[in-house]
């Protein structure tokens, strides 16, 4: 024990022989060579590599060891590598603790909604790819769903299966990468992220052979899909999906009980359940707080009512729960995929009533929403009978999930802000639109 920790004598503390210093309130404090302070209530505990109960990992206090000096205002971003894009946080710090945090964004704003109102319904589909550029297929689906509601189009069964398969594959790669990014934010440089990217690449290969593009898929159309599956695609997908649980086993074995992950995420960025509902938080963030609300179950859009899957729920609403929810959701997605790849029928892939040219829905409005990997993605459209939508609105999940960023970060350490932001899972293409 004493070989691992070097003693640093501080005022008001007296040291004993075995390199342990004791504070006035009987708690013992160790300081490692790396500058981390461990405190625990039971001074007799011998230290092992396993995390002991009652231990709390704390970053180094400010230079004189006191909290309550002058406040420091810093600007994190917009060119900060941990902000996942051009995103800025105006953080006010008291020592290491956050006392105020204001998210500032809009650096990527190009007024997607205005552009879409100036063009035809069809021409906006490629643009939806660029919202959440990790999950272009779910963006396509949400938009097509809203237009199908507006125009009353029916999607053929084969197309519904293809939509579910592509959407669940999108969810797999999004959640896998999020796990990787989250660990990258914690300082696990590379390894978990590269494992996740290896799996993502297999899924992107599938997207490429199906749609022609890895990320900007532009695949779904009103009332169906653009083209049918290429020969051998189903077999290749089956192989990828059947191999995926093995990756998850590895990933979980590497990370789930990882000491660094646990101590940096458990109890960090706790989001109370009532606040999550009140602030319209959706997706894995919401379910990590224990609220059972998955639009695949609630709305049963597409043909999700035919598949058996469970909705994983968290208990604590902290960063660790958000990570675990995503891992468990991937397991459920694999089930849906195996079922869908087995059952997919032959048949047409587009509604014969759907028109590509001269598409003019009757005057009216529709709100269509799906469970995108990041939360509820909705499109609200108003038609005035012309070829262009009168009003085109995107309800972006990561934009609204940022509402409670300040609430989660208050009182936390500045280093944890990065992890809390990472656990929200934002994509700036969607936040700024």
């Amino acid at each position: 024990m004493s070989a691992e920790f070097t003693l640093e004598k501080r005022g008001g503390e007296r040291a004993n022989e075995d390199g342990e210093s004791r504070t006035a309130d009987g708690r013992s404090a160790f300081r490692t060579a790396a500058g981390m302070t461990f405190t625990h209530n039971n001074s007799d505990t011998t230290q092992t590599t396993a995390p002991a109960k009652g231990f709390e990992l704390r970053p180094k206090a400010s230079h004189n060891g006191e909290i309550g000096g002058e406040l420091l205002e810093i600007s994190m971003g917009p060119q900060h590598p941990s902000t996942h894009g051009v995103f800025r946080m105006d953080v006010v710090l008291d020592g290491e603790r956050v006392v105020q945090l204001k998210p500032i964004f809009g650096y990527l704003h190009r007024n997607h909604e205005k552009i879409a109102e100036g063009t035809t319904y069809l021409a906006s589909i490629p643009y939806t790819d660029r919202l959440d550029y990790f999950c272009s297929l779910t963006n396509n689906w949400a938009y097509c769903l809203a237009v199908e509601k507006l125009a009353g189009l029916q999607v053929p069964e084969r197309a519904e299966y293809i939509r579910i398969i592509t959407a669940e594959l999108t969810r797999l790669q999004n959640h896998a990468c999020l796990g990787g990014f989250l660990l990258q934010d914690m300082g696990a440089s590379g390894t978990p992220l590269m494992y996740a990217f290896r799996e993502r690449e297999k899924i992107l290969d599938l997207f490429e052979s199906l749609t022609g593009a890895r990320m900007m898929c532009n695949y779904m159309r009103f009332g169906g899909c653009r083209c049918d599956l290429p020969a051998g695609w189903l077999e290749q997908s089956k192989r990828v999906v059947d191999d995926f649980p093995q990756f998850l086993d590895e990933f979980e074995a590497l990370l789930n009980e990882n000491e660094i992950l646990m101590s940096r995420t458990q109890g960090v960025g706790v989001l109370p359940r009532a606040l999550a509902v009140d602030a319209s938080i959706t997706g894995p963030m919401l379910r990590a707080c224990g609220v059972n609300y998955d639009i695949r179950k609630v709305d049963k859009y597409g043909i999700y009512d035919r598949f058996q899957f469970r909705v994983p729920l968290g208990d604590h609403g902290d960063v660790y729960d958000r990570y675990m929810i995503r891992v468990l959701e991937m397991r459920e997605s694999v089930k849906i995929l195996q079922h869908a790849l087995k059952d997919i029928p032959a048949g047409p892939i587009v509604d014969p009533k759907a028109k590509l040219r001269g598409f003019r829905p009757k005057p009216g409005e529709a709100y269509g929403r799906i469970e995108a990997p990041k939360g509820e993605l909705g499109f609200y459209l108003i038609s005035d009978g012309s070829p262009n939508p009168y009003r085109y609105r995107v309800r972006p999940p990561s934009f609204i999930n940022l509402t409670i960023l300040e609430d989660m970060c208050l009182g936390q350490h500045v280093a944890d802000v990065v992890i809390i932001l990472g656990s929200i899972d934002i994509v700036l293409g969607e936040v700024d639109r």
Partner: protein
């Protein structure tokens, strides 16, 4: 989903009992999805929203989507054919009458219930006009989820939400003047033009070129 309970007439009568004095109007949606909505008057919007959130039959605890819509002033032309006697001869005369429909801005709220898992109930609140009368009550005190979305409407449509805790521009920069999502918005030639020292150099070069041209090289 209980379709009867979510029929707009049902909600209307229920809210009218719960919030005395509220004026509600059903907006029929012509599209096949038939998501009808309710227009609430500005004075009672906050109370109606609170009622919908707390009423045990509805429990609209989740505001999914908040957005603005711009309805500019429109003129409706009506052609009326009348028979009149002109110079002793009866003639059919067409008279066009122009009716002006005043414009307004609208905030649309899509409400769902996470507890009872039903919805959507769509609320619309309309401003008096598109100029000074652009104030609406903020529903952020009822649903925190409206906070950023109302800021976005303020930013892009210019609706001022009274009672919003932090009403600032969110996507555009603070110094930006206009409201880009309005239908009559005109894009500036250059968004971020600022005079630079380079301008003076250009001006000088231009003057020199003119001088050279007029004096023809002498």
């Amino acid at each position: 989903m209980d379709t009867d309970k979510n029929a707009p007439e049902q909600i209307k009568s229920r809210v009218e009992v719960g919030v005395p004095g509220v004026r509600l109007e059903v907006v029929v949606n012509g599209s096949p999805c038939a998501q009808h909505s309710l227009v609430v008057d500005r004075e009672h919007a906050l109370l109606a929203a609170k009622f919908l959130k707390e009423d045990p039959a509805y429990r609209m605890d989740y505001v999914s989507n908040v957005t603005g819509v711009d309805w500019p002033e429109t003129t409706i032309k009506e052609i009326v054919k009348t028979k009149e006697v002109v110079d002793g001869v009866e003639r059919e005369i067409e008279r066009t009458t122009e009716k002006k429909k005043s414009g307004f801005l609208e905030a649309v709220y899509h409400l769902y219930s996470m507890e009872l898992k039903h919805g959507p109930v769509i609320l619309r609140i309309r401003t008096e006009n598109r100029a000074e009368g652009n104030h609406l009550p903020s529903l952020t005190p009822v649903w925190r989820g409206a906070e950023f979305q109302e800021r976005e409407i303020f930013d892009l449509y210019g609706i001022v939400f009274d009672g919003h805790p932090d009403l600032r521009r969110i996507l555009m920069w603070e110094e930006f003047k206009d409201y880009p999502m309005r239908k009559d918005y005109v894009e500036p030639d250059d968004y971020e033009y600022e005079p630079t020292p380079h301008d003076d150099v250009l001006e000088k070069a231009k003057k020199h070129a003119e001088k050279v041209l007029t004096t023809d090289g002498h």
